[in-house]
């Protein structure tokens, strides 16, 4: 039996003349925590909205839990939960009342579930305080509580740690880990806090301008992020063209100060150094470094625009 829960095939979404998604394809496997990474307007929320049934794709196909038709997708959504954009809440109702309303619409018979999820997200003491008077962090927690109400098998979370204090971020990260490990809940999480995602995710999908820029497992990303050579010479422009022409290095990143980074040929640095010297280029700096997730993300987003 396939462990692929979500299969997105050639999905496109157009709003007027603007393409929000352009031929996007990826899979999500059961038990994974997938980080969906991209700048604002990249298409992350559009993907989530299509998965959640809030938007219709212009073309392409979405398969969830083996279903592609409307009825099947709606049935699949009963096993899932979504927190998209800023959590939606009735501002003049309390946390408990908001959750009770959702309990009723989801048909959850157990009334004590409301108290359970309030305790999980640490909102059990809000009492009669209405949501209008909640902080951003409290609203995020309420959104998470909502997402946990139906004991989902799959959670789609749009920037779930937005607005949380450092303690809250750690708390929620541990909660996600626990839910994934103990309850085998699959998750798709989008976030700008890449360092947090790197502590949590098993897979990554990079997206920009509505296109998938890369799909990696955590191990692949760790390997890709690990090393690069920083090169600074007396003529970096000439050095770049020589590296491409004579050493076959295609991926060369030019930094703002003119120096270069190369991610290929890391085992052949002696040949690279000799080639530069033979062509009259004097290396001023040649050092080996590590890329963190932010650096890799910025490179990927900029390079592949």
């Amino acid at each position: 039996m396939s462990d692929v829960i979500v299969d997105v095939r050639n999905l496109s979404k157009q709003y007027g003349t603007q393409k929000a998604l352009d031929d996007v394809s990826f899979q999500i496997k059961k038990g994974s925590i997938v980080g969906l990474i991209g700048p604002n307007g990249a298409g992350k929320t559009t993907i989530m909205k299509i998965m959640g049934g809030l938007a219709f794709p212009t073309s392409g196909e979405l398969e969830m839990y083996g279903a592609t038709d409307e009825k099947g997708l709606n049935h699949a959504r009963t096993r899932m939960s979504f927190m998209i954009e800023t959590p939606y809440e009735k501002e003049k109702m309390t946390a408990r009342e908001n959750l009770e309303k959702q309990r009723l619409q989801k048909g959850i018979p157990d009334k004590s579930r409301v108290d359970e999820v309030l305790e999980i997200v640490n909102l059990q003491d809000t009492g009669k305080k209405i949501v209008k008077n909640f902080s951003l962090g409290m609203r995020q927690r309420l959104g998470l509580a909502n997402a946990l109400m139906g004991k989902p098998e799959f959670m789609v979370l749009d920037e779930p740690i937005n607005g949380l204090d450092p303690e809250g971020i750690v708390e929620i990260r541990e909660l996600f880990r626990k839910l994934n490990k103990e309850d085998d809940i699959t998750m798709v999480i989008s976030s700008h806090i890449l360092s947090e995602l790197s502590l949590l995710c098993t897979d990554y999908i990079f997206i920009n301008h509505g296109q998938i820029k890369g799909v990696f497992t955590a191990d692949e990303l760790r390997a890709a992020c690990s090393e690069y050579y920083h090169i600074d010479t007396d003529n970096n422009e000439k050095a770049s063209s020589i590296l491409t022409r004579e050493c076959g290095i295609e991926t060369i990143e030019a930094l703002e100060d003119g120096s270069l980074r190369i991610y290929e040929g890391l085992d052949d640095i002696h040949n690279i150094s000799k080639t530069l010297y033979d062509n009259g280029i004097i290396p001023v700096e040649l050092s080996k470094n590590e890329v963190n997730l932010e650096d890799y993300y910025m490179r990927m987003v900029q390079d592949r625009q």
Binding site: G53, I84, E100, K101, Q102
Partner: protein, 266 residues
């Protein structure tokens, strides 16, 4: 679908604006009657349901009831669209058909049926205190009053359509109100200036036809001269009210459904 209705009822009951609206609607008819009685100092008659109907105050009350329909139906249909909490229903796996149907039923109950009942309440409590009265025939008045459920449902459906398409209870109320005022003005001009029969063209003209009397005569009853009003219900008034109201309601709800089914939610 029933879960959606339950959830809507839960939040509707907790909305202060709804309760203020309902209480205002309940208080309005006796207030209007009191005001009319206060203004008409020559009148010594007791306010019976018969006199209340004959005085056409019920038609005046109906106009104010329409504001209640706009508020209650718009809020039931699109109160959750304004803050996007309706999205939870779609993301929970409910089909758009069921979400729409559940909201329409809740809106018709809160905006249509409830307002209909409130509108008829004065007939009940006035009857309890003062008896029916002699000016009108009770069965005919009750039939006319009962038939107003159809133009009420037609108007509620129109409000539902506007609220659903505008995705905002506030916009739904404002646009319904604007449309109400415009159609009232147009109806008034067409009827007064051009003498065009608009009995069934608009829900408020239909309701006005049902809630007003035409001919009257004087009769001596128990030694007292009373003005007796003709409240007979012509057969075509019944079937035309029902058919026209149902057809228009179906058109409005179909338009609202197509829009709800096919468009992306923000």
């Amino acid at each position: 679908m029933f879960n959606i209705i339950k959830s809507l009822n839960y939040s509707t009951r907790r909305d202060t604006v709804n309760w203020i609206t309902i209480i205002t609607l309940i208080v309005l008819p006796p207030f209007i009657c009191y005001l009319v009685g206060m203004l008409n100092t020559d009148s010594t008659s007791v306010m019976t349901p018969s006199a209340y109907f004959a005085s056409t105050e019920m038609g005046t009350v109906f106009i104010f009831m329409c504001f209640g329909i706009m508020i209650l139906a718009s809020k039931a249909m699109s109160g959750d669209a304004s803050d996007k909490t309706i999205n939870y229903e779609l993301m929970a796996g409910h089909s758009r058909d069921k979400v729409f149907a559940g909201r329409v039923i809740a809106s018709l109950l809160w905006g249509g049926v409830l307002v209909f009942v409130i509108m008829l309440l004065p007939l009940g409590y006035l009857s309890l205190f003062n008896g029916w009265g002699v000016e009108t025939n009770m069965n005919e008045v009750l039939l006319r009053s009962a038939l107003t459920i159809f133009p009420i449902m037609r108007f509620t459906a129109l409000t539902i359509m506007i609220a659903s398409i505008s995705r905002s209870a506030g916009k739904g109320i404002a646009l319904s109100y604007a449309l109400f005022m415009v159609t009232t003005l147009i109806a008034s001009i067409l009827q007064d200036m051009f003498e065009i029969d608009l009995n069934f063209s608009f829900s408020m003209t239909n309701a006005a036809t049902l809630l007003s009397t035409s001919n009257s005569r004087y009769e001596v009853i128990n030694g007292k001269t009373e003005c007796i009003f003709d409240t007979s219900v012509p057969g075509d008034l019944i079937w035309k009210t029902i058919v026209v109201s149902l057809v228009f309601a179906a058109i409005y709800l179909t338009i609202a459904y197509i829009n709800f089914k096919k468009t992306d939610r923000d």
